[in-house]
Amino acid sequence: MKRFLLIYYCFLVIPIILASCQNKVTEAVFNEVEELKLVKQSIDNVFKWAVSKDFDLFYRSIANDSDFISVTPYNRVKFGFSEDRKDSSFWGSPDFRAIRHELYDLHIKLSQNKDVAWFFCYLDDINEWKGEPASWENARWTGVLEKRNGKWVVVQQHFSFASE
């Protein structure tokens, strides 16, 4: 009986488990083009929300945890989702108006497991504060996204201007 169980497990149960794990990876490989579109959309959403002040869209596009890091071009690094949320009152103010944004030279790479992506690009983010220009032009932007519960979210991002 023990022998029967051993053979049963080795040749039926274990292969089924391994095959089901393998399928998860294979499925992702087939959808790489679509996956890159989704990643690009998530990257774009980090700025797209601002024109309509759709804060829900913004919060869905970044990781809602304490490990989230956002490096601004100024002397300020935001550690954790809650730190980033603190800027909501600024962006929500009627004095702040997002006009448009544009990403150019955007390059995205997917990890071998297809569950992480990283990117680099240049960014023009055109805004106004009390009617005066408050824009970033030609900012350098790099970042990392992770696919969590089927959605791509930015887990780390770094904005900067070249120093010379």
């Binding site: 049963y8 149960v13 089901s20 100024y74 002397n75 790479k109 990890s111 569950d115 992770e146 780390q156």
Partner: protein
């Protein structure tokens, strides 16, 4: 009959349990021993300049790497481009002297094969006998485990535009200071 029912029940339970164990992504908190290797790979991407072992340094980078550093001409795509970018460091008058990674935070992906990090970097070197340091550079990066080896796929270093150190400005705009004096 009872035995067959027991086999069926055990199989279902085993499949559920094994599926949970083997198919579940690893915890983002690394417990596999990769942390030390990743940390060393990050440190050596700067620290290599002390020994100036170029081949060892190139092994820390992926073929499809991306790199932004402080300067506008520091955009590098791919290892071959990086090799050209690194030619300037072959000058025998140049050598790294010390470095420090402050507040280094490494996060692992849920699948465990990608890590990203942030830190403040102090990077000191000597050129023609004169030592200079880049202090508090904000550095972020991404590494991936490829063929069992952790390699940098992305690195970004910058100074905040409202806090560029004076010695850094002097280094590149010394004429401006001389004119003022």
């Amino acid at each position: 009959m009872k035995t067959l029912r027991s086999i069926r029940l055990t199989t279902v339970l085993s499949l559920l349990l094994a599926g949970e164990i083997y198919c579940q992504p690893a915890s983002p908190t690394d417990t596999s021993g990769n942390y030390a290797t990743v940390k060393q790979t990050i440190e050596q991407a700067i620290g290599w300049a002390i020994e100036k072992d170029f081949e060892a340094m190139y092994n820390l980078w992926a073929d499809d790497l991306f790199h932004f550093w402080l300067f506008s001409d520091s955009k590098v795509i791919g290892l071959e481009d990086f090799k050209k970018h690194s030619e300037v460091w072959k000058d025998p008058e140049f050598r790294g002297t010390s470095f420090a990674f402050k507040d280094l935070r490494i996060v692992f992906s849920r699948s465990g094969d990608v890590a990203w990090y942030s830190c403040f970097l102090d990077d000191c070197s000597t050129y023609k006998g004169k030592e200079s340091c880049l202090k508090d550079v904000f550095q972020t990066g991404v590494l991936e485990k490829r063929d069992g080896r952790w390699v940098h796929v992305l690195m970004h270093g910058s100074y905040p535009v409202d806090k560029i150190p004076e010695n850094y400005v002097r280094r590149f705009y010394s004429n401006l200071f001389e004119t003022k004096q």
